[in-house]
Symmetry: C2
Subunit: 366 residues, 2 copies
């Protein structure tokens, strides 16, 4: 159906080695291409992958490198199934068809090759995007705050709100067509105004993240960090170390899920747990201060809360979290309440904690 109506078709999936994977055969038939060729580069990669993982090189694996004669291969470095580019002609209309693997990260790493080909084959209007990343202001409040600014945007600038419950609201300013340099200047003017309105709510732009912003600061200043997590249970450690090179500044963490771990390893006082409970300012402050000393780091983050679905009370409903941050000359804590399910709460507690430290360190888009 697409073949009739489209100039560019992207197909994903069905390239695996098993009997239910029929994309390659179907496309060969569509192209009337009976001959297959052996892609030697992909074949070598398949062999390497099997050797490295110490798994048998089966006929099924090797056959992954067989592709229809008429296609152009996009090498798959992360898996065994190569991507393929087919150039078709339907009633004098040229159609270009990409067949990519269904495994998301294998597909993703082929996109640069796809984009390059598309750019070569099609005449594409310029699009200028600039995306500012905000955290901590709910979408509706944000919209009220910038209503005036938004109403006065030049007509050619389109604004999109891209909210993500965990990483905040992205504001994307776009101009379609026109001269890229001009567009950049036009958008920059508006960004300057926006920064004045939103201040430190803007933590970065483009591909940045709370963890990449903290990463840059810690790396540049030769500072280190450690974490003590209860309810977030390793998630903050996990986010911080998703950045390549994080071993330079991340020393480690204690996941103190059980209260015995809070007392015996993090030295939280029994009195604190008895009098205030594990979800309290006092508890997270002791956790943050003690993990910082234990791991000899410059900064630390601690969390304790109720992710749910059970464990809530009227005083401390599900979604409540206490967060503490500690540094050479500060120890601060705050409470927040969120409204998600278990995994959303854990995720949100974690990014909220990162944001708390970011704000304390004065990190915002310059």
């Amino acid at each position: 159906e697409c073949y009739e109506t489209s100039d560019l078709i992207i197909v994903t999936g069905g390239l695996g080695p098993t009997k239910d994977d029929i994309t390659k055969k179907a496309l060969a038939k569509l192209c009337n291409c009976e001959q297959y060729k052996y892609d030697i580069n992909q074949a070598r990669l398949i062999e390497d992958i099997c050797n490295k993982r110490n798994i048998a090189l089966t006929k099924l694996n090797r056959d992954q490198a067989f592709v229809p004669e008429c296609c152009e291969v996009i090498i798959n470095r992360l898996g065994t199934a190569p991507g393929m580019i087919f150039r078709l002609n339907n009633k004098n209309k040229n159609v270009i068809l990409f067949s990519l693997p269904g495994v998301p990260y294998e597909m993703e790493h082929m996109l640069p090759a796809v984009i390059e080909t598309v750019k070569k084959e099609f005449k594409i209007d310029s699009i200028y995007h600039r995306t500012l990343l905000t955290f901590g202001i709910p979408e509706s409040t944000l919209a009220s705050m910038i209503e005036n600014w938004e109403d006065n945007l030049p007509d050619e600038i389109k604004l999109a709100y891209l909210p993500n419950p965990h990483t905040g609201v992205k504001l994307r300013l776009s101009i379609y067509g026109g001269d890229l340099d001009n567009n950049a200047q036009l958008v920059e003017k508006e960004v300057v105004k926006l920064k004045q309105i939103l201040g430190n709510a803007i933590y970065g732009e483009g591909d940045e993240s709370l963890e990449s912003v903290l990463s840059k600061y810690l790396t540049y200043n030769h500072k280190t960090i450690s974490v003590a997590e209860s309810c977030t249970s390793g998630r903050i450690s996990s986010i911080l170390t998703s950045i390549p090179g994080s071993s330079v500044y991340f020393k480690g963490g204690i996941v103190a899920y059980d209260n015995s771990i809070k007392m015996n390893i993090l030295n939280v006082k029994e009195d604190t747990l008895n009098n205030f409970g594990a979800v309290s300012a006092k508890c997270v402050e002791e956790m943050a201060e003690n993990v910082r000393k234990l791991m000899k780091s410059d900064f630390s983050i601690a969390t304790s809360g109720i992710a749910g679905p059970s464990g809530g009370s009227t005083d401390k409903p599900v979604g409540t979290v206490w967060i503490a941050i500690s540094g050479p000359n500060f120890l601060e804590s705050q409470m927040k309440v969120f409204n998600g399910n278990r995994n959303n709460n854990i995720e949100r507690f974690s990014t909220e904690a990162l944001n708390f430290l970011r704000l304390r360190l004065g990190l915002q888009l310059k």
Copy 2:
């Protein structure tokens, strides 16, 4: 366009409070519905959410509860934008249109209401699915192992391979149409044969996961677990505690990213690190054994590896991980090498570690 060709339309997104959210208006126009109504239940929920999170109840928020008179509301408990059901008539064809929020988990929690409505309005053929979950056998090897069985499947049973690089290959057996009880029996016969071929590679079925299988075992047997993570940096703790009620069996973890933490908190011997390195059997065995003692748990898991992109060597390339598991009467370790990028390696190291313990505990689909 869908409106012309489809009986059932699902639209997601564009229901937010900001100016770029135009779905509600567009649908009202499509229905020629000028009147709006105030959905009091959603309005109350919006108020609750704002109160709980201690954020201002703006006009923009409140307006989320205004919906076109002609639609039926699906309440949103996780956010402010309600879902809507529109019943349209196009040239004597009835069309039912669902408008759902774009935030994935808000959308997801409305699906039961959507499915209920669809079941009522449409006559639907029965589909019988049964999904078996395997771990540790690459898709191509798996396909070779079950080739004979697959070739002899009754014609009405369709087999799908659903590979996920982190959680293994799912095998889904489906029968379309026919009597559900009959189909269940027919599939059960084949499942019995499949279990004989694949044995303990099948860890569960349906919605189960490695962590839920471990969760059931630990809860039922009143056993506890702790973890010591280097390269996986909290990810195993995070996966284990994604299960509600995990506080019963999960005591906590040490993220020992820096070698100083391995030595000072986990008591890994300096000699071990000097002679064998952090990515070694000896190191993870000490980590596993010591965290189990430190946290007084019955079982423990430890990991140390090279997630990449840097840090690899000829001996220990990026993607190498050593995993140890320890229990009252065992201490075992193994090395594996994977081929992903940083985050895929971390994820794969983590599920591989959970699978290692699962196999040692003899947990498989009965």
